[in-house]
């Protein structure tokens, strides 16, 4: 057991540093000859029509919303999963009620057609 999280910051710096150093070494070794045609967006040889930064299919958006709801609620289950042996029957029943609400939410989204891919 250790609650000292400083190592995460150090690993973060080492990880970023490793990638940047690799890019630097590659930058010293590789050629650099950009051209107008070479820097075009790749679209199987055809000239690209319009930007791809456009408004996008709402189907992805609904899945993202459902994900946020479920993922946040699942985080509440973590403390319970660690401690429920000590908490006994009360915590078990209480968490089943919580799970029932979660499952009800899933069934609701399902019946509303939010899980249908369009």
């Amino acid at each position: 057991m250790n609650a000292d999280y400083s190592i995460i910051g150090i690993f973060l710096l080492i990880g970023v540093g490793f990638v940047l150093v690799t890019f630097l070494i590659a930058g010293l070794l590789r050629p650099h000859r950009p051209g107008k045609v070479k820097l075009q967006s790749y679209e199987c040889g055809e000239p690209s029509i319009g930007s791809s930064w456009i408004q996008y299919n709402v189907g992805y958006y609904i899945f993202a919303l459902i994900f946020v709801i479920f993922d946040v609620e699942v985080v509440f289950l973590f403390p319970w999963a660690v401690a429920f042996r000590k908490l006994g029957l009360f915590a078990l029943v209480e968490m089943f009620i919580f799970l029932a609400i979660l499952i009800f939410g899933l069934v609701y989204a399902w019946k509303k057609g939010a899980l249908r891919w369009v």
Partner: protein
């Protein structure tokens, strides 16, 4: 046999005394130890990725009755190294329409997100960078950053294929994240701890006491969801070569592409390592009599076996359609994961 963690403690005690004699603050020693651990982990991961790329090519080849790379070194063992040196010299092409800053940082985020998970993965008895008390929750949090890097790459490239690939992988990873998190909870409930070392030690050195047996449902859900998280076949829609040419990384070249490639193989190793830790007893031998074989060999053996299973999947199952993919996550795996959670709760309460 020498116990690795005891040797490390002895060495640390010796160095601490050495520092105290020269009145150097202990924080510098701790800092040095952490930096060395980080550098060792970079080395281990680079070697593992070099090996896994070669292995993937060999396994694919032999499953298809081919030989695979044979020319560079014995049975092509140096092939990945040669490929890496080639990629190092490749021109770095940044499309003029791209968002340059986001385009640059996306591979950095991809690699760092994959690398940070290795703080808490126990490679053997005492072979762990830092046994954080939130272990598995930390891994789930850190590996979620992969989605951000894929979205960054897809969006910044300003390429239609890249954007489609990035969006698809975001939708897919986000969907499979939920059953994955819930299936991990089963092992946490049995062990009563989030720390990776505690979970391994709770399983003990008997293979029938490991959590794959009481958590057979959870293990299945975890492994399927993790395959989807790592964008492996049959869930490789974001990279579908035949329809999206390569998905989110189509505009990337040279070392930036290599970073995405490296991160992908590191992620593959990560999900197998987590599955080994949670469900296959981590570094524990299958029988107490086999404890004379060092613990890290058991860990690597189990993990590499699971990696092999992932490669086997790739040449066995055809790719799913995108609506099947989403239905499978939300309408099948998620209810099943809830069922597993309820059954585990009841089981631990009445029998545990």
């Amino acid at each position: 046999m020498l116990e690795f963690d005891k040797v490390m403690l002895e060495l640390y005690g010796f160095l601490a005394a050495w520092c105290a004699a020269r009145s150097i603050p202990l924080i510098w020693l701790d800092l040095t130890v952490m930096i060395i651990a980080g550098l060792i982990m970079i080395g281990v991961l680079s070697l593992a990725a070099l090996f896994l790329v070669w292995w993937e090519r060999k396994v694919s080849a032999h499953l298809q009755d081919r030989l695979g790379p044979m020319r560079t070194g014995t049975h092509g063992v140096l092939q990945t190294l040669a490929d890496g040196i080639k990629l190092l010299q490749k021109e770095d092409i940044v499309p003029s329409a791209a968002d340059k800053r986001v385009y640059f940082w996306a591979p950095v985020v991809a690699f760092v997100a994959a690398y940070l998970a290795y703080i808490v993965i126990p490679f053997g008895k005492g072979l762990i960078a830092r046994d954080l008390n939130i272990g598995i929750l930390y891994i789930i949090a850190i590996t979620s950053f992969t989605v951000i890097s894929l979205l960054m790459a897809g969006w910044a490239s300003n390429n239609k294929y890249a954007l489609l690939g990035g969006m698809r992988s975001a939708a897919q990873i986000v969907s499979y994240e939920v059953p994955l998190t819930i299936s991990v909870l089963g092992a946490v409930m049995l062990a009563g701890s989030l720390s990776m070392v505690d979970i391994v030690e709770a399983q003990g050195p008997y293979f029938w006491k490991w959590y794959w047996l009481p958590q057979i449902l959870g293990f299945g859900i975890y492994f399927i969801s993790a395959t989807a998280e790592a964008n492996r076949t049959p869930f490789d829609l974001p990279e579908a070569e035949q329809e999206l040419v390569a998905g989110f990384n189509v505009e990337y070249s040279g070392m930036k592409f290599a970073m995405f490639f490296l991160a992908e193989f590191v992620n593959m190793f990560t999900i197998s390592a987590i599955a080994t830790t949670l469900f296959l007893g981590g570094w524990q031998p299958p029988l107490p009599g086999l404890a004379f074989i060092p613990s890290w060999i058991w860990f690597m053996g189990k993990t590499l076996f699971l990696v092999f299973v992932l490669m086997w999947f790739r040449w066995t199952y055809p790719r799913l359609r995108v609506d099947q993919l989403m239905n499978f996550a939300w309408k099948f795996l998620l209810p099943l994961a809830f069922l597993n959670l309820i059954l585990t709760g009841l089981g631990v309460y009445f029998f545990g």
